[in-house]
Symmetry: C2
Subunit: 301 residues, 2 copies
DNA sequence: TCTCAATGTGAGACAAATTCATAATACTAA
DNA sequence: TTAGTATTATGAATTTGTCTCACATTGAGA
């Protein structure tokens, strides 16, 4: 039937204006053009859209049905345009986050809660950054923000610093290492080490401590959930190294000890990687502001 | 933003086919044309609809929103087309009825109940034919069917006979005329006559009895509702002439008497006037079939 | 780096929509 | 009825926009 938006607008205008000539004015075109158009449309549809027995033109039964459609559809088009405007101005958009850092769930959830309240129209999602390479996905626009602690200089990408943290050693109070003030690489040699199930180059224990010292722990165990890691540590089935914000609840728990890693104090920095064109968007900026301030509150308990 | 249905179909096709080239096949056009179209659309919208970093093409955030719109709107267009097909074949349509005959509510309601069950998609309405001229309205397609007892030969119109009825005299049992077997014009001279509030040429009492005999009743009173007329007659505040089907309940009521009008037996015929092009439509035919059979059941009590 | 598959570009052909000028048709008020 | 006016229809010319063809360009993977 080759219907076009033009036709819907025409139907609506003729109905509103109460006649073809007036509708032509409304649509900024000649009366002739409208007449041709209506005729063409009726030919296409194979049905009379208007009652021609009378002047001015009046909608027929079929015309009324088409009008109903127009009144349902045309506002949606306008809404889309509004939506696009909002997208362009950054009032809305998509914020799909990939995390290389597994423990980040801990502070990310509260941050996203605040964020969603401030930007209800932004489409938020988290994708655990395990099954795929996060940075290429960012380039391919499959995700919009990557939480990472390894800034890389790449064209078109921007690493925005969020906050610093200290990887901390955690063990059961009954563990022999509880007696030491600072934990160093050699201390792991006799321990079962519990980590998230990701490659070693993304685990602070290895990148900062064990790999440089070429120390291998007695055993390794990979566990997905932070709570489970802590449970296992609590029952002295192993030790772990976790960011300080994860250990806020543990510090005051007599079953656990948390110790700094040594010999020097280890400080790491988290970044939010975005595409440069996105980094200026208001909601992005706001997310990063939240991601800078909220986790610090957690770190301080 | 000059959006067209074509564009919505394109977005949907590219998404479905997973790429521009394959989508072009789907839409029976060259890949080049699609590329031009997409580019034009993006220029218009002022926003990227696709992620071009990768091949094949993939929807961007804005593109996804447009896709959502397409998936909501395009089926509606198809539905309209279906609707039109149904209109053309007469499976659906409009049946706005105008009544010149006021008492017809009585049998029309049950008939419409049956009709609506059989043709749920037909848009039914009744307009009491008091405030306007019914036949011109029929010509102007403001209504689709007129109930009338005065067939006229008019180009483009058709008077389909429905059923015959007898205008009957009704009075209180206490009224002196109750003693007569047949009521004639002269009998009205001493009576208060109660009628519907329409012109005399649409009232059987006048057209069939009083006007030919040039008899004027003692008084006239116009009442809108049949039930009220009967109430007034029952308390002997006046007499009336009503179609036989209206008096079905009254016949067995000792407070009333019903009598034929004379001297000869008066028979009138009701017609359903339609436009000739409508009279063949299935739902019209069915309506008239119902309107021929159902009222007769009422007449017989 | 090379090759293949996919997408982009530009010029010309073609179809469709619009305009201008004018005819035909309904409505309205004497 | 009959002008007179308002409204819609028609035809030819023009403009607009879309498509195709041929070729250039670009990514992705070997």
């Amino acid at each position: 039937m080759h219907l076009e938006f033009r036709h819907l607008r025409t139907i609506r205008a003729i109905h509103q204006a109460g006649g073809l000539a007036r509708a032509a004015d409304l649509l900024n075109m000649t009366q002739s053009a409208l007449s041709h158009q209506v005729k063409g449309l009726e030919d296409q549809a194979g049905i009379e859209l208007f009652v021609r027995r009378s002047k001015p033109l009046k909608l027929s039964v079929a015309g009324v049905r088409m009008l109903k459609l127009a009144e349902r559809i045309l506002p949606e088009i306008d809404a889309l345009e509004e939506d696009f405007k909002a997208l362009k101005s950054g009032k809305t958009g998509r914020l799909h986050i990939a995390m290389e850092c597994h423990a980040c769930f801990d502070w990310l959830f509260p941050v996203l809660e605040l964020f969603r309240r401030a930007w209800p129209d932004v489409d938020v999602d988290i994708r655990a950054g395990l099954a795929f390479e996060a940075l290429p996905a960012l380039m391919r626009e499959e995700v919009d923000l990557v939480i990472s602690s390894d800034p890389v200089q790449v064209e078109g990408m921007m690493f925005n610093p969020l906050f610093d943290y200290h990887p901390m050693f955690v063990a059961a109070a009954s563990n022999p290492l509880a007696g030491k003030e600072v934990i160093v690489a050699e201390d792991f040699r006799d321990q079962m080490l519990i980590t998230y199930p990701v490659s070693r180059d993304k685990l602070d224990v290895f990148t900062e401590i064990l790999s440089p010292a070429k120390v291998e722990p007695r055993g390794l165990r990979q566990v997905e959930l932070t709570a489970v890691i802590l449970m296992l540590v609590g029952s002295n089935r192993g030790v772990s190294v976790l960011p300080d914000w994860v250990l806020r609840d543990i510090k005051s728990n007599a079953d656990y000890v948390t110790r700094p890693l040594g010999p020097g104090i280890i400080t790491k920095r988290l970044y939010a990687a975005t595409r440069v064109e996105d980094s200026l968007k208001p909601f992005m900026a706001h997310f990063m502001k939240l991601a800078r301030s909220e986790p610090v509150k957690l770190q301080r308990g």
